[in-house]
Symmetry: C2
Subunit: 491 residues, 2 copies
């Protein structure tokens, strides 16, 4: 505390790292690329999990758990899948350590080599579809709607806290259906569920769309995504939902008997969001003073700070606020009364500002006399004096209003960072000078997509689903295009 954060417009990346560590969200560990999620950061993830889990269950999904390890041969069964993940796999080759005979310490026991290497799951399609072969015989077993909360490992070379780590936490849904339209409907339903969660809980506006072939999940026929816009003008893929066709059913020989008694391959989807969402949350709302959290996901929604001289005054304040704390909690509002005598109020003000607590109440001797509280809101950094008997209603109003306000602010920022361009020159200028999403015509070829990526580092974030079709000409090749797509530099 005390030390100020680097400002966003000085060095956004440095600001982000200082904020994640300073607000006690997470830190790097002694294990390359793996982070430690600290209690305050984990509490945000727990709130996300609870809401998503409720939404999954409400839409008929059940949780289950599949092995951490995937035999190498399983991963190899779907060709494009292994192609996509082989380059970043943690591989278990042995199952025992022993004392070195020369006394040099603990070594891997060469006699304990596995017959077949095991991959630490980078995603679980293969182990799950190997299981589904046993679970699915008939149309009566379908649809199968399963979700798993788990850790996964992808050996990334450049990592950043929450945004890209070698190990991360996520949920992965894996569903099986009797027909193609049903599976597509599921993949779309989940994209919409993710968008609903992002907008209504994270207060993060997102654009729903389809990935181009080059950005698709390894093994998918179609990848649906939600894309957010961060304050530095870079996009962030916040969740993906894949229509897998019959690829995994064929690779793992999963057939079912139809009502008519025919044997057919099963249709599949998979979908996931991860602890990356915490990074997205931070970058969408926070400011130079620290975190700004949406009330719906804030571990502490209201903090009460006593301002006192001597323990007698502290006792008087404690007595006074007891019924208030009780009433707020009975309304499901999480409150912290910070009565630590080891820290001064000013220190505490800074700490909770840095940690993004939405509403702060301060109460001192004069407030007791006047029957008031000083109420401050984190999003606008404004404060006002409120009579004690109106404070609960005020807090309830503020929690709703902050949720709305930060959404609207992020929405305005995002909307002013979608720029339509018609020439490649203009594209490059906007990309460098303003950033954000750039809506442009593209000829639909991988060649042009790669050329733009190589020359500008911008990728096609998605083909937006809610946009109108519009005929035009590719800004690079001048070939015909049926619709605009969204480009951006991305996390």
């Amino acid at each position: 505390m005390g030390k100020r954060l680097t400002k966003r417009n000085e060095d956004y990346s440095k600001w982000y790292n200082e904020l994640v560590v300073g607000a006690d969200l997470a830190e790097n560990s002694g294990v390359r690329g793996c982070m430690v999620i600290k209690p305050y950061g984990f509490a945000i993830w727990e709130k996300m999990q609870a809401e998503l889990d409720r939404m999954f269950k409400e839409t008929g999904h059940e949780n289950a758990y599949f092995p951490l390890f995937i035999p190498k041969s399983y991963l190899s069964k779907e060709a494009s899948h292994v192609e996509g993940f082989a380059k970043e796999c943690a591989v278990v080759t042995h199952y025992r350590l022993k004392n070195a005979e020369d006394g040099s310490g603990i070594i891997v026991d060469p006699d304990a080599k596995l017959e077949e290497e095991l991959i630490v799951r980078p995603t679980s399609e293969t182990i799950i579809w190997d299981t589904y072969r046993r679970w699915i015989q008939s149309y009566r077993d379908l649809p199968l709607l399963i979700n798993q909360w788990a850790n996964v490992v992808r050996w990334e070379m450049r990592t950043r806290l929450f945004l890209r780590t070698a190990e991360f936490l996520w949920q992965e849904g894996h569903t099986a259906h009797a027909t193609e339209p049903e599976a597509i409907e599921e993949a779309e339903k989940i994209m919409n569920l993710y968008a609903d969660f992002a907008e209504n809980h994270m207060a993060m506006p997102v654009i729903k769309g389809l990935k181009t072939e080059s950005e698709r999940f390894a093994g998918a026929v179609e990848t649906y995504c939600i894309e957010g816009m961060m304050q530095d003008g870079k996009a962030l893929q916040a969740g993906t939902s894949h229509f897998l066709g019959q690829n995994f059913a064929k690779a793992f020989d999963v057939k079912f008997a139809t009502k008519e008694g025919k044997q057919e391959y099963v249709w599949a989807t998979s979908w996931g969001v991860s602890t990356r969402l915490v990074g997205a949350l931070i970058m969408t709302h926070s400011d130079d003073n620290g975190l700004v959290l949406p009330p719906k996901l804030a571990p502490i929604q209201v903090v009460i700070i006593p301002i006192y001289k001597g323990l007698e005054q502290l006792d008087a304040i404690s007595e006074k606020i007891k019924p208030l704390v009780k009433e707020l909690r009975s309304k499901g509002i999480s409150v912290k009364f910070d009565n630590r005598d080891t820290h001064k109020p000013g220190f505490k003000f800074n700490e909770y500002e840095l940690k993004g607590v939405p509403v702060r109440l301060a109460v001192g001797q004069r407030d007791l006399e006047n029957g008031t509280y000083e109420v401050a809101r984190r999003d606008t950094l404004t404060k006002e004096v409120v009579p004690m008997d109106g404070v609960v209603a005020k807090i309830e109003f503020l929690l709703e209003d902050i949720q709305k306000n930060i959404y609207q602010k992020a929405r305005d920022f995002r909307d002013t960072h979608i720029t339509k361009v018609d020439t490649y020159e203009e594209f490059k200028t906007i990309l460098e000078e303003k950033g954000g999403f750039i809506s442009a015509h593209w000829d639909g070829t991988l060649e042009t997509e790669n050329r733009i990526k190589d020359e500008t580092k911008a990728t096609i974030r998605c083909i937006p689903i809610d946009d109108e079709r519009e005929a035009g000409l590719c800004m690079v090749t001048g070939k015909r295009s049926e619709r605009r797509v969204l480009f951006a530099k991305a996390y």
Copy 2:
């Protein structure tokens, strides 16, 4: 369904495996020693998690998340710890796969060898204490009360669903304290919390005690445990809580400044329960017809089965039970109305009996006419006809009564399976003919403990905490003993 389970008195082990698979709790996967936890089994674990998590938080603990991987050098820092876990470690040695140049398929890329091997965590003391060194500077940072929900891997050679698997799910608490008495108090508090959970939620009576040196956790000064008694007369260790002294603080150099400004090593505890509890739950209550679940942990507490001819009758029943379902749910009771038209009532009766649903309602045309339900309880397999307007109160009563009744039944069984013996001959006879806990005097030496284990396969389950001290003579060596200890064969 349809196929009956093997009876417990014919082959207990076979009964257990058939039940776990038949009731859709879990199954073996294609990965050696790793299981798939199916949705119904996972729902039981989720209920356990939710309650334990509430209890941990209520006692001041917070959740966090630490890396899956532990560098080999970390594991080696505490001598007895690495000794305990080296023999069963999954070791990651490489971080990439590639296509073999001879076209033979996907192989481990020899150029992607890690500089230092990573161990998949068998438990997290070492990675966590490496982190705590950064988190703890002063007495103000203590106590540190952290819990983690995670998967861990121990390469067991003989595995059994839930009871012993290479990968399992658990929670592991890791706390740091300023003084030895505070750490001991924490370890004891958690042992009591586990016992409370086992008895009041799992309806499983347990004995609280201390482990002997040979059965202690690798790296602990003292291991507290709770021990349950299964229906086959074998004991099951259901949870452990360790007082670690300053062992890990010294190994990882974690010191704090006391109020007086001195530098001292921190005192530690760690504690855990795992998916093994699901195995304990099954073996404590279930019978030859299938699972018997305590209502507090049953994913479905009440199932309603319509008995009808034709969809018109089914509609009439559906209409009738709608308000009942709504009322039960509003009371927090989980209800399933099984209106599948693809299965006959008899099939459904068997299925929910096998799955241990505590209360079953059946309703047919005659019930509609008479204003009654047929209500059956799973624990006693009895049923009665109940007037519709009294059925909610009846169900509430039954859920409480079943919880109490199965606890009492397990308690009676356990109590009649604690036998005091004073000679080694008697000990061997009881062990073979009756099983259960045997309370006997032991001279306190590892030598005698090992001899008994080698000759009878019985181990000292614990030195019970709640027993009176009683002087006596060791049943094997005749040496003096200050108290009886509990022996048993164990899972």
